[in-house]
Symmetry: C4
Subunit: 252 residues, 4 copies
């Protein structure tokens, strides 16, 4: 692939847009699609993207297809207006507007996932907040926020179709690592594709455990100081899980 170039508003040629993804990002993005499908976080729908490591104005995402079938050849680049870099691409996720708006609102974010993770749905439609049961879920903080699309407009369906809706979602996300979407699903963000995958898998199991714990009586969640401490710390050996998940999802 050859990188094409674009003129900016004043006609100056800007930096070339990405022609081919960083090999490590490509590898992680394909693996992420497969791992999340293997864990049941993604089914036929949902999508994960990674911001271009060399140019923050672009992100990489698969064509519109089932995540479990994604290969390297299916990964394309979009700009932050969610337009594909290569002209002529027609198979695009209509909800990719989520990715562009979050990358814009959160310069620290390097990966974005939109899923319908099954055990998160009950928390999307409840006043009970999703809260961390264990240290690895500390990124949920004092509780994951819930985005209600009616705060943007109460016409239309529950999908994020417009920039206004995606901006509202990004606002609800704020500085959090995960936001729930009422009647819809979730969006997880992070500083790498691997971190987002890790968060998504932990959020799903944390949700199941919180539901079970609710049955047993009042739940003792992580304390504010434990949450703060865990947020400051790096997870111990996160690649151990990544390699195991990848091997299970992709064989070899």
């Amino acid at each position: 692939m050859i990188a094409d170039a674009r003129a900016n508003a004043s006609g100056t040629i800007t930096a070339p847009v990405p022609g081919a993804p960083d090999p490590a990002l490509l590898d992680d993005l394909v693996a992420a699609n497969r791992i999340l499908s293997d864990h049941g976080v993604l089914d036929a729908y949902g999508h994960i993207s990674g911001r271009d490591p060399g140019d923050p104005r672009y992100y990489w995402i698969s064509r519109s297809m089932a995540p479990g079938l994604v290969t390297g050849a299916d990964i394309i680049a979009c700009d932050l207006d969610n337009n594909p870099v290569q002209p002529g691409e027609t198979r695009l996720f209509f909800e990719r507007v989520i990715h562009g708006e979050i990358y814009r609102a959160r310069p620290d974010v390097m990966a974005v996932l939109h899923s319908h993770s099954p055990s998160l749905i009950p928390f999307c439609n409840s006043d009970t907040r999703l809260r961390p049961m264990v240290g690895s879920a500390a990124f949920l903080g004092e509780g994951a926020p819930v985005f209600d699309i009616r705060t943007v407009d109460d016409q239309g369906d529950l999908n994020i179709c417009t920039s206004a809706q995606a901006k509202g979602l990004a606002q609800a996300l704020g500085r959090h690592g995960l936001v729930l979407l009422r009647g819809h699903g979730a969006v997880a963000v992070g500083s790498s594709i691997r971190q987002v995958v890790r968060r998504a898998i932990i959020a799903e199991s944390n949700a199941k455990q919180q539901i079970q714990a609710t049955l047993l009586g009042p739940v003792h969640f992580l304390t504010p100081s434990e949450i703060e401490y865990a947020k400051r710390m790096k997870p111990k050996d996160p690649d151990r899980a990544w390699q195991l998940w990848k091997q299970r999802a992709m064989g070899g």
Copy 2:
């Protein structure tokens, strides 16, 4: 196969009854049986049919057998009195009366499924209605109706054995996409085999999520306007899920 023909009451030869199913319908009907088995919506029992696309007075359904073992050679045609078109067929679902009566009552319906989908059973025996948690479940409307066979007769068992019982069931279904049967299971209908499969799989997961959400406190379901909007809209790229499910259930 050669289409045979029948005389109507006055002795006139009517249009030939279907001799061989439409290839696309046949393919979808076999895949539907396998997909629903693979998802645990169907076990050894239950059945799905598709109305003949060329002649609305006939529908196609498998012989009486486990859905997970159905092949193209097992698909037969029945008229709306639920009589097999080919004489001599003896392996018939005794509850096929459900299909004929619903096709009669609902000219818009092109496919009918009867299942004992496991997570729907709790809602069959409860005053709590099965209601949509997410946009794709909007076809559940303000709550799936529950058919109580005692409204037709309180003799016999819970199976739908007679035309009177099937007519009662069709009446309880009304304009809905899914009706629950007290102490028994569910019937889903739709404008195509693929839509019915989609509805059945979504209903099963929606039921699980609603049960979990009930544990967390009051559940916020889709609003009436969201339900109306979603009903008007076509689902985005429904074939993506169909192809993925088919590949998982049938390989290739």
Copy 3:
């Protein structure tokens, strides 16, 4: 194998004891062990037996081993005192006393299963009765009885080790199709091995569904007249499920 013979108390030679099992019974008993393991009703422990079709004073059961590994060569005969017919057999289930005492107390019973079916355990330790959610579970009647071993003796553990304990269990079973054992598991009985397997699989799924339904509010179980009707009727095409389960558990 050659049938050996025994002298009764007065020295008269009685009818020969079974030397080899009826081939159909042997085939069903091996399949039952595999099917129940495949469904998670049996794990490493538990056992199913079939009464000899030709001589009601004997039953057939596997040697003491994991049910999922049983082959035809592992099936042995015991008399109703639970002594093996072939001398020298040492690998015997210590709880086989359950089988002899139930065959003695219930001449109509042709098969007995002892399991620790996971979803039945909650009902073993609860005042909430296991009751039929659907027609196929009507054999649970107005609720499965619970046997408390303390009604026999309050020494020892919860296992059924003595004839007195097994007689107490048989008394609690009464005319029922299934009895729960407090702090332990369940015993299912029936008129054939296939019926017992069917009952065990249905009881496990009924338990899950009743637990889910309890979450939704008051549960509407089968009515007394529906239970009575279903008990009088034969199940429709029960071999359809048996063949499907056998194929899944044993291949071919």
Copy 4:
């Protein structure tokens, strides 16, 4: 491998430290890692160790890696200060301090497991105690204790990183067979690797069943005398389960 030797503080050569593990221990330790992964008790994290049968001052454990991938070549020896016997080993579990401190506090303990067993987490964060539903879970006694790391220090995260924290954990464990860690997971101990594996698998299923039973109303747990009796007795044929689990996890 050749056993190396060490001088004690006064310069005297002490007994050689273990150079190669006992073959039976090595075999069981590898199998334990695989079985616990296969049962979902261990995921990418957690670790199980066995005390050296010949020298109680050492224990064997895998290098820091996913338990499901452990082979015999990954098993190393540590002393009770948790230092590896072979110099130069760098891949070590940072929480291995748990093992040394428990072996020190409990001379009867021959194996230690630290896990994040999913169904135990709800009990880690609840006032509801994990209690035995069936005889095989009698080792849970009147309820598994819960260790709250804040009783040692309220700085840091929830991981057991220091000797002081591990000593506090060992104290909370006391004479029990299992201790839960608030916001974290569990530690199981026993007189052999096989017993610890058995306890971990039973604890996970017991937790699920207790949660389900709680839904049904008040739960009747094992009585104190039943618990005492079961603790005194050896389990019946425990190797039957071990062999079945091993075959499932490792094939052959």
